[in-house]
Structure formats: structure tokens, C-alpha cells
């Protein structure tokens, strides 16, 4: 689903101390440090900024604000560009329906993320640049994005900053000894069965 971004994050050069917090957390890696009068200052690349406000709300100097763009930025993935069969295969391996929501804030679906991957996105940052996923709350959907990237056979290691750290466990790959130990208390096998019924993924061996 296409979305038009009409806003942009702007750095107040006087307030910026070059602490790099914004650089480390930007989900589309749109921020870099540049020397200005021998001091590092954050610079935002208009080409990629989606005004998600993560940098605004973490900047310790309150040096970043949201302003109007001079020209709007269009983002979003036209799924028809990618083969629907290939999209379905990636989603299936990730235990997802193509139409299911992965990013709750912008209502971005698994098929859009799979489409971005088929169009060349190899990292969560590249997925975010193309689809807008991870640019709302910035908290909830990283796992869904990583699962789809892995289902497409891509190796996910480390983000350039603190954006994410790596792959985490899912209900489909819990160690057997843990399942035995905690199943009664935490309903592990029953949840796996119910999720298999709802999300008919093919990745589980």
C-alpha cells in the first residue's frame, strides 16, 4: 500500500552534540554524522527519512523536530511487481499469510515485505525504506520482518547500529527439552498446535 510522506526530521545544528544516538536507531539509516567546524553534527538524508520520530523522541538534546517536506516522498510496495507465487512461498515458510499485518502502525502486510525482498531488499533497513515497516512505533514488527528475510534465504547478522541485534526464537523452533520442562506451565505444545492451525507455515520440520 503506497503512502505519501509529507514530513521530514530536521536537526538543529546549534543543539546537536554529535552524540550519534539518532544515527544508531534510525530504522532506515537516513542519518549520518558530518564534520561542521570540526564538530560532528547529525545530517538527515531527505531521500530516506520517513518522519517516524524515533530520533525526535530519543535525542537527548531535543535537537530534532518534524517539519514539512519541500517535496513528498512516496513509499510502499506494489506487490504485483513481484511474483505472487514467490511471495506466497516466502510467507508460507515464515508461517504467515500474505495478507496478514506485520507492521501494525502502517498496516503493512507480509506480502508487501516479501515483495520488497524479491525486489532486492536484503536487510530490515532496506525493507523499511521500501515499505515503511518499522517506521511507526519502531518496536513491534522487527521479528516479522526478520522471519520473512530468513524465509527468503537471507542471512541476518547485525544492524549498523542499535536498530536490531539478530534472530530470536519462535514457537516453531523451541528446544525440545524446554518444551518438555515448561509445557504444562506455559501451554507450549497447545499454542504451537493452535498457531499451526491459524498460520499454516511450511517451515516447521
Amino acid at each position: 500500500m503506497a503512502r505519501i510522506i509529507t514530513q521530514l526530521a530536521i536537526v538543529d545544528r546549534q543543539k546537536c552534540t554529535g552524540c550519534k544516538t539518532c544515527v544508531q536507531i534510525c530504522p532506515v539509516t537516513a542519518i549520518k554524522l558530518q564534520e561542521e567546524e570540526r564538530k560532528p553534527k547529525a545530517v538527515i538524508d531527505e531521500q530516506y527519512c520517513q518522519a517516524c520520530t524515533l530520533c525526535v523522541t530519543r535525542c537527548p538534546e531535543i535537537a530534532i523536530t518534524i517539519n514539512s517536506r519541500n517535496s513528498p516522498l512516496k513509499i510502499g510496495m506494489e506487490v504485483s511487481q513481484a511474483s505472487s507465487e514467490e511471495v506466497a512461498t516466502i510467507c508460507h515458510k515464515a508461517h504467515m499469510y500474505p495478507d496478514q499485518i506485520v507492521c501494525y502502525c502502517h498496516r503493512i502486510q507480509a506480502k508487501e515485505i516479501a515483495g520488497a525482498i524479491l525486489s532486492g531488499a536484503k536487510t530490515p533497513e532496506e525493507v523499511s525504506r521500501m515499505t515503511g515497516a518499522r517506521t511507526g512505533c519502531g518496536v513491534l514488527c522487527i521479528t516479522g520482518v526478520v522471519r520473512l528475510l530468513r524465509a527468503a534465504g537471507l542471512k541476518i547478522e547485525r544492524a549498523p547500529g542499535y536498530q536490531w541485534y539478530g534472530t530470536t526464537v519462535s514457537i516453531w523452533d523451541l528446544p525440545d527439552e524446554v518444551v518438555q520442562k515448561y509445557d504444562k506451565e506455559y501451554y507450549l505444545l497447545r499454542d504451537r498446535k493452535d498457531l499451526d492451525e491459524i498460520f499454516p507455515g511450511g517451515g516447521h520440520q
Binding site: T53, L54, Q109, G138, T143, G144, Y182
Partner: protein
């Protein structure tokens, strides 16, 4: 006995996530035909809370209770000059004005300093999805001054620290665990029952307020509606956390209000105590709300939509009240992130029996006042939703709700919204989620209905539901 007047709703809050207090028009409690229902009249066995009459009174009571319970825990691990992080969560400050939670944190600090001879004590306040909130709370309660400048807020996008657990590597916020010792300072109210299902509720911040995005996202997207609660338990039991953990201090909350503070050195044991306690404290109120056949809801409280409260119960719990969220044989509730995943627009992808619809008793949702900073489009997609006055602009400007107003109707003022929805919803039952302490503000007709339902609900919970809930959790 039926109350004759309404209860005082929670006051508006000055926040970047809210409309300015001056833009808030009429409150739901002031509408004609509204009345206050006291929980003590519905269920006399739910304990009476501490008095919230004045901040001084709250501080005096909490300090005494917290000091007494802390006297029973072992703090001897902490050596003179050791560093200690008191780990707090934004949720605690949203309870009944927040002063009780703030005083609990101050008391922990003072007890640690007095008994352990260290002043190297830091307060870490973890955020949810509104990353400026910890700073707001630290400033509002002057905690920076009290902690001699040793306070900081964290967010899940901050630098992570890998934690090796029995089920693999998770990530917590590095700075929260930067001290030699940690003290877990949380609250017990039932809160997001649709997520924790009262199975390990006290562990949850280890996968939320103190964790980075991978951990939180895994909890919501990659485990299951019940099994996700294994994650915070695994993090708590990890060597790195156990090496630092000193004790847990919990603000005890009931539907009636704040009822105490409990400290314990063993979180596993403390969680068992609170599992039993919360089933007993909240079971009747949650069940009663589930018996309401039809209702217009008014959101009128300074928190995001799902976290607005009525009678100590969250809006989200009412959205799920058509299923028994305490019943662990029911896998899915009407709203959790798994449900949200399967509703790309207004109808579910999967028409299976496992996914119940949102509570059909809700005939309409009127949003008079709430915070943004929580992805809430699902609510507007599923319920006929009106948004009053300046709130509509707030949603339009919220990056987490870019589609919200596509599904909601803006309306000039609260009375117009209520008059209209009353006609089309064909009900006189109105319930305000306005954070009133000790009870609920409802229409006269709903007050009468709740009083009629309460005795049967009490019997049903005592005789049938409690034994089942306890049995499902290995308790008797």
C-alpha cells in the same frame, strides 16, 4: 446501595501525546444521567484501598507499608558503594495519579541507602511506545532531585545487551542492567490480561519495559497467546539477570485502588502469590463487565485507548470480555497482536473458531480524550468509532495511527456524539473509561443492571470459575 453522584475522573495531563488540557471539553462523568457505581457496593469482599485524599496522605501510607515489607527482604548482597539500578516501568505512574508508585520508588531508594550504605542508587524508568514519557514522570514527581540526579529513562530502541537464556539469546536494554545490582519495582494490576493471561504477570517487564525491540516483538509475533509468557521468565532466570537481581517490590493494586506494597527476594514465589491474589481480586469485576449485554463506551482518560480504565479494568479487557481471558483453555482473546495480524481491514483473514470477534456488546466507541502513541487502528476498524473535537487532529498527526481516522468519524463535542450514538445503538447503557478511583461512571440504566448482575457473578466466580482458574495454574 446505588451511589447518587458521579466519581471524579482522572484529570487531564500535560503531555506531548495528549491534546492540551484546555482543549478538552465536557467530561463523560458530567453528562446528564451519569452516576457513580462503587466497587465496594458491587463486591464488598474486594479489599478497600488506601486513601487517595491528598498526595501527603498517599506518601505517608505508602512509605509506611513499603518500609515494613522491605524490612522482610534480604538486601545483604549490596555492599557499601555498590551501584544499584531500581528498574521502574511507565505503567506504575499511570495508576491513580502515580504518586503511590513514585513514593514506593523513593522508599526503596531510602531503604537501600540506609541499610546498605551506598548512595550509588539510580532510577531507571522504562518506556512503552511513548519514549518521552519516562522524562515526563521523572520531572512530574521530582524524582531527579530525590535521586540526586541519578535518574534516566530508557526506550526499547536503546542499545541492547544480549542475554543467554534456556531458549536462546534475547536482548534487554543495556543501560537498565548497567549497575552491579538491580531491584525490580513494578505493579500488580491486571492490566494487559489478553497478553499475560495471569501466567507470570510479574515477570512481564523483563520482556517489555527492560527489553529491546527484538524481545518485545518476539513476545507479540513469534510465540503464542499463552506461551509468549515463557520469554520474560527465561530472561529473569538467565545467569546475567540472576547475578544482578536483589529483590522485587510490587505496588499491590485491586479494582478498588491501591491496596499495598509487597517485597520479595524470589520473584518466582512472589508471582505465585500474586497469581492467586489477582484471580481473586479481579475475577469478579472482569466477569461482571463480560455480562453487560450492550453498551456505548466513552474513552476519557489520559492514556492510550487500550490502557484507559474503568473500575480498575482496562478498555482492552472489555474488548475481550466476550471470552473469559483467565480461562487458559481458551487460546485466543478477541484482541491481541495475533488477532490484529489477521485483520488487514475490517474482516478477519481466517474465519476459524479460534479467533473470537471483539466484544459484540460494544455498540459504539466515543473517544473524548486519550493519548496517542500506540498503534490503535484495529479498534477503529472493528468498532463504530467517533472522535471528539481536537482528538481527531491528534490521531491524524500520530505516526502510529496513520490510518486511524480513515475508519473513525470526527464529531464536534461529546454530547452530540452521545446523542447520535444513543439513537443508532438503541441502548441507554453508557460506560466511561475515565480512571475514576474506586468505581465506575455509568448511565443510570447501566448502574441498575450492574447492581442486578453482581450477586450472581460473585457466586459464579466463587463456586465455578475460581476453582477452574486455579486448577489450570496448578493451584488449589
Amino acid at each position: 446501595m446505588k451511589a447518587k453522584t458521579t466519581l471524579t475522573p482522572a484529570p487531564p495531563r500535560l503531555s506531548p501525546y495528549a491534546i492540551k488540557p484546555g482543549l478538552l471539553g465536557e467530561r463523560a462523568a458530567n453528562l446528564p444521567g451519569m452516576t457513580g457505581v462503587k466497587i465496594s457496593d458491587l463486591f464488598p469482599d474486594i479489599p478497600r484501598p488506601i486513601s487517595l485524599e491528598s498526595p501527603e496522605m498517599i506518601r505517608r501510607q505508602i512509605r509506611e507499608i513499603a518500609s515494613n515489607t522491605l524490612a522482610k527482604v534480604d538486601l545483604s548482597k549490596i555492599q557499601p558503594q555498590d551501584s544499584v539500578n531500581i528498574l521502574a516501568s511507565h505503567h506504575g505512574f499511570s495508576l491513580y495519579g502515580g504518586e503511590a508508585y513514585a513514593e514506593m520508588l523513593r522508599t526503596i531508594r531510602d531503604e537501600v541507602e540506609r541499610r546498605c550504605h551506598t548512595s550509588n542508587i539510580h532510577l531507571c524508568v522504562g518506556a512503552g511506545m511513548r519514549f518521552r514519557e519516562p522524562e515526563e514522570y521523572i520531572q512530574k514527581y521530582e524524582l531527579d532531585k530525590y535521586f540526586h540526579g541519578k535518574t534516566f529513562g530508557t526506550a526499547p530502541v536503546d542499545q541492547g545487551l544480549p542475554v543467554e537464556t534456556e531458549i536462546g539469546t534475547f536482548y534487554v536494554v543495556r543501560r537498565a542492567f548497567s549497575a552491579r545490582w538491580i531491584i525490580h519495582a513494578h505493579n500488580s494490576d491486571v492490566r494487559e490480561l489478553h497478553y499475560h493471561r495471569q501466567m507470570g504477570r510479574l515477570f512481564k517487564p523483563f520482556a517489555m519495559s527492560y527489553a529491546t525491540i527484538e524481545t518485545r516483538s518476539t513476545y507479540h509475533q513469534s510465540m503464542g497467546p499463552r506461551s509468549a509468557n515463557l520469554i520474560p521468565r527465561m530472561i529473569y532466570q538467565s545467569p546475567i539477570v540472576q547475578e544482578k537481581f536483589v529483590c522485587s517490590v510490587i505496588l499491590q493494586v485491586a479494582p478498588t485502588g491501591i491496596i499495598g506494597v509487597d517485597a520479595h527476594n524470589d520473584l518466582v514465589e512472589q508471582d505465585k502469590l500474586f497469581t492467586r491474589l489477582n484471580l481473586s481480586l479481579y475475577g469478579k469485576m472482569v466477569t461482571l463487565l463480560g455480562c453487560i449485554e450492550e453498551v456505548i463506551l466513552i474513552i476519557d482518560y489520559p492514556n492510550s485507548i487500550p490502557y484507559t480504565t474503568a473500575g480498575g479494568i482496562l478498555f482492552c479487557n472489555f474488548l475481550n470480555a466476550n471470552v473469559d481471558e483467565f480461562d487458559l483453555d481458551i487460546p485466543f482473546t478477541a484482541f491481541n497482536r495475533y488477532t490484529d495480524m489477521l485483520y488487514p481491514v475490517t474482516t478477519p483473514l481466517y474465519q476459524g473458531i479460534l479467533l473470537p470477534p471483539p466484544n459484540p456488546a460494544i455498540k459504539s466507541l466515543i473517544i473524548n480524550y486519550c493519548l496517542t502513541g500506540y498503534p490503535g487502528t484495529f479498534f477503529a476498524q472493528q468498532l463504530p468509532t467517533w472522535v471528539v473535537g481536537a482528538q481527531a487532529d491528534l490521531f491524524r498527526g500520530c505516526v502510529q495511527n496513520t490510518n486511524f481516522m480513515d475508519y473513525a468519524i470526527p464529531v464536534e463535542d461529546l454530547r452530540k456524539a452521545v446523542d447520535f450514538t444513543r439513537r443508532f445503538a438503541k441502548t441507554d447503557h453508557i460506560l466511561a473509561f475515565d480512571g475514576a478511583a474506586g468505581g465506575l461512571n455509568v448511565s443510570d440504566a447501566l448502574a441498575e443492571r450492574m447492581h442486578k448482575l453482581a450477586p450472581d457473578v460473585a457466586r459464579k466466580v466463587d463456586d465455578r470459575l475460581m476453582p477452574k482458574w486455579l486448577r489450570q495454574r496448578g493451584m488449589h
